[in-house]
């Protein structure tokens, strides 16, 4: 699974990186690591706008957003 590390970056960087990742995603899944709720929500919204599904898991202060195309 391709992974994008957007921890420590503030929006819109995580969204830009996630969108780039989604554009290159032909099948399978993409994991985006972020460390703020704002970034998590923004990445999830960006994924929804692209018609993708998201799945979130939290660990300490960090979130992993797994994006998959429908």
């Amino acid at each position: 699974m391709k992974q994008i590390d957007a921890r420590g970056l503030s929006c819109p960087q995580p969204v830009i990186m996630a969108r780039k990742g989604m554009a290159e995603l032909s099948g399978g899944k993409l994991e985006v690591l972020v460390d703020s709720v704002t970034s998590r929500d923004n990445v999830m919204r960006a994924a929804r706008l692209e018609g993708c599904e998201t799945e979130v898991s939290a660990k300490d202060d960090e979130f992993s957003v797994i994006i998959s195309k429908k």
């Binding site: 503030s10 929006c11 819109p12 969204v15 830009i16 704002t38 929500d41 202060d61």
Partner: protein, 372 residues
């Protein structure tokens, strides 16, 4: 109301409606016209109160600024989103804050006030908003080209409390009104030392106009709280539409304008026109250019002035540095004859805007990296 409500479209609309009505009411209760809330103007007043500039008509320790930061801190703590962090190019952010303020004071308002001016019938705001949009558009081009200020790093929790503590100190000074200044005065050849400000409080002009402190503070705490929950941001609103066709945040600013307009109509505060608008000038070129500079600086720094205050309340030390840059920038803007007045742009305003734009363009080009 569940915690996730503010992440929804209706959540951000509700926050915009609240800010719009609250701003109109603050004006009704004494704040300057079309300035119910204006982060740039209010930080400029604080700079004046502290003696960082000596423009006697714009000096007041505005409790709204303190409330935004404290409200955000409360929300962040309650919802476990308080995270002390910093380390992402603070000196660059300081300078972006300085020039953002300079642009805002050439236009005479931050984006919040641009929206409130529009809602009050000041059509010059349209020119400013057009400039703001173009500035943000240029910022988006840099973002697409790989611009970013680098990662922030987790800090000790206390580091994030510095800005809220500064706000508490400012509030203490607002209550106590101490006089820290000493000046020589010569009367009939006899020299005496008189005690004077800072802290300064305007006796006339916009700085002397204010809603009751308790009302301003409580309303601002509510706005700070709601803005933290909803991530309300005027720059982000325009940026997201340009960058990703995401209309989430922009629905909040549309709601703000609609609510403020409705409230202004009810309170008889709507006076449409181009000329003679309160604390505004009608020089289209520099209204446009001032806001274009601000928009570019906001987008390079990742948030409008309101958003930067909210972020500084939830522990973001880099946003706090941007805020300090804005306050210092206000000092320069008034000391260096840069800030406009209702008569029009000041002597060195246009030159300062051009220098600011050049600075921002250099930052935009210089701070690029390719993502993996």
């Amino acid at each position: 109301m569940k915690a996730g409500f503010f992440a929804t479209r209706w959540g951000i609309v509700a926050v915009g409606l609240f800010i719009g009505v609250a701003a109109a009411l603050l004006q009704y209760l004494g704040n300057p016209p079309n300035m119910g809330v204006c982060v740039a103007c209010m930080e400029r007043d604080i700079a004046g109160a502290l003696g960082l500039h000596r423009a006697a008509v714009v000096q007041y320790l505005r409790p709204e600024i303190m409330g935004f930061v404290i409200g955000s801190l409360i929300a962040a703590l309650l919802f476990k989103e308080y995270r002390a962090r910093s380390g992402s190019a603070p000196i660059v952010r300081f300078c972006l804050g300085m020039f953002a303020m300079i642009g805002a004071l050439v236009f005479l308002g931050c984006p919040w006030r641009a929206l409130l001016r529009l809602a009050g019938g000041d059509w010059n705001a349209l020119v400013g908003i057009a400039g703001l949009t173009v500035g943000i558009g240029v910022g988006v081009l840099f973002l697409k080209g790989g611009y970013n200020l680098g990662r922030t790093y987790k800090a000790k929790p206390f580091a994030g409390l510095i800005m809220p503590l500064i706000m508490v100190a400012l509030f203490a000074m607002l209550m106590a009104k101490p006089l820290f200044g000493r000046a020589k005065q010569v009367v009939d050849g006899v020299e005496t030392i008189i005690i004077t400000g800072p802290v300064f409080f305007s006796a006339e002009g916009p700085g002397s106009m204010a809603a009751p402190v308790a009302v301003s503070l409580l309303v601002a705490i509510a706005i700070g709280f709601l803005a933290q929950r909803s991530r309300f941001c005027t720059m982000g609103a325009v940026r997201d539409v340009i960058l990703t066709r995401d209309f989430h945040l922009v629905s909040g600013i549309v709601a703000l304008v609609v609510a403020a307009l409705a409230a202004n109509l009810v309170l008889k505060q709507f006076h449409p026109g181009w000329e003679g608008q309160p604390i505004a000038h009608a020089n289209h070129l520099w209204n446009f250019m001032g806001m274009a500079l601000s928009g570019l600086a906001f987008s390079l720094a990742g948030g409008c002035p309101g958003r930067q205050l909210i972020l500084s309340g939830e522990g973001d030390g880099d946003a706090a540095v941007f805020v300090l840059g804005m306050i210092v920038g206000a000092g320069f803007a008034h000391n260096f004859t840069i800030a406009s007045s209702p008569a029009g742009p000041a002597l060195f305003g246009p030159a300062a805007v051009v220098i600011g734009i050049v600075f921002c363009l250099i930052v935009g080009f210089a701070m690029r990296e390719k993502f993996a």
